[in-house]
Amino acid sequence: MFFFRALNLLVPKTSQRKKFISSILSAFITTLILLSSPGSGSNGRPDDETIRHKGQRLSIKWDPLTRAPLIIRGIESNLLEIKNFSKLSRKEITHTGPLLVNKYQSLLKIEPSQLKLKGAEKISDTWYVSYWQTFQGVIFYESSLGFSIDSHGRIKSLGALIYPNVQAPVTSKISREKALKIGQGQIKDFKKLKCRLVAESILIYPVRKTNSVDYYRVYAFNFFPEEALHPATTEGGWAVFVDSQNGKVVLFEILMKPLGCCVPEDWVPPKPEEMKPKW
């Protein structure tokens, strides 16, 4: 009797100890795994690394989600050196991006033809050039690839937010008119505020999720009220992205007041004295 009672007492004790040991072991193993891969991306590769590419040492920061480079820097060498740079025209300078993509295509994983010029400006002696990424001619929302070129034609690094291996629709299934109606419907008091469609385009809108990216082909509309809203509000207008495949609204965002961005050049922002308070 005593033996059985002792056994009964022993069983839970042993199982608790086992649980305790196994929990310590699992915590230890988890810690080891975490410590062995600091900052590693979804495929186990670290987000920052130094690699040798065609004999050149490069420091690369990878986008943990897309595994495309966010930053590429040459170590002890430049990414590209353009000969007779001072003699190049602005147009020729804007062709540097495709050259760079061509050279590092195996890392960037996009085609040179996918670049569309965003801007090129000379500030002091340095040129700053940037591009959008496109897919079948359609711009990716917030995408970019850019770099600076010093007066000797040297490109030391590049920064990019690009999306390789994209699967996105190439045509729209709903009309622009239908999408516009859906977009207008998202704004409360659309008519009362006399909203104007100030800018519109078709875009590829990448939605970054925890482990993947969803790509939507969208009709993007920017609406601004004809009469300014309350002067104290930071709200100026609204951006509505409508999925061109099914008419669903995939983004509704408050825009700041127009000030040289997000609206066409002919848009004249209201003067402060024209913004009469509504109270």
């Binding site: 989600l65 801007g119 700053y128 770099f147 000030l259 961005c261």
Partner: protein, 174 residues
Amino acid sequence: MVNSKFLKFPFVVFCALFLALACKEKTEKSSLPKLGTAAFDFNCFDLKGRTWKLDEVRGKFLLLRFWNDGCPSCRFEMPVIEKYYRKLKNEGFIVLAVNVKQSAAVAEAFTAQLDITFPVLLDSDGKMTQRYGVYAVPTNFLIDRQGIIREIFIGEVFKEENFLRDLLKHYFQR
């Protein structure tokens, strides 16, 4: 008699509520940053994961800049600011560039493209932007060593580098 007392009570409550709301409204209206007043505190992460607060930069001249990748002025003013940051950082000039409601990836790519070395903060929920009453980008606040707002600039002002040079000269020679 009872009735008048009964009526007085909701009237007093109504007056109290009215006053409270009026005060609240007044506070909200006057709570936007103004020249010559103390800058608001903030608590924002930069791209390297470091938290920045106003107290940490007290004693330095701070250019607090709100920007967004979508506006060309934001892009092409940055190299000018970077130039003066490098020149004056050892003399107590600091730039905190607050990205307005974009992802870290957007800000990271932008920073690398323009060789920016000053801290880039992420205001992903837009709270800091709203707190500072920023309604357009770029917006710049020049905050002195005591934490007082000395200048507010909305729109493109720094692309002509002489302007920033003269501005900083004015404040650093005081």
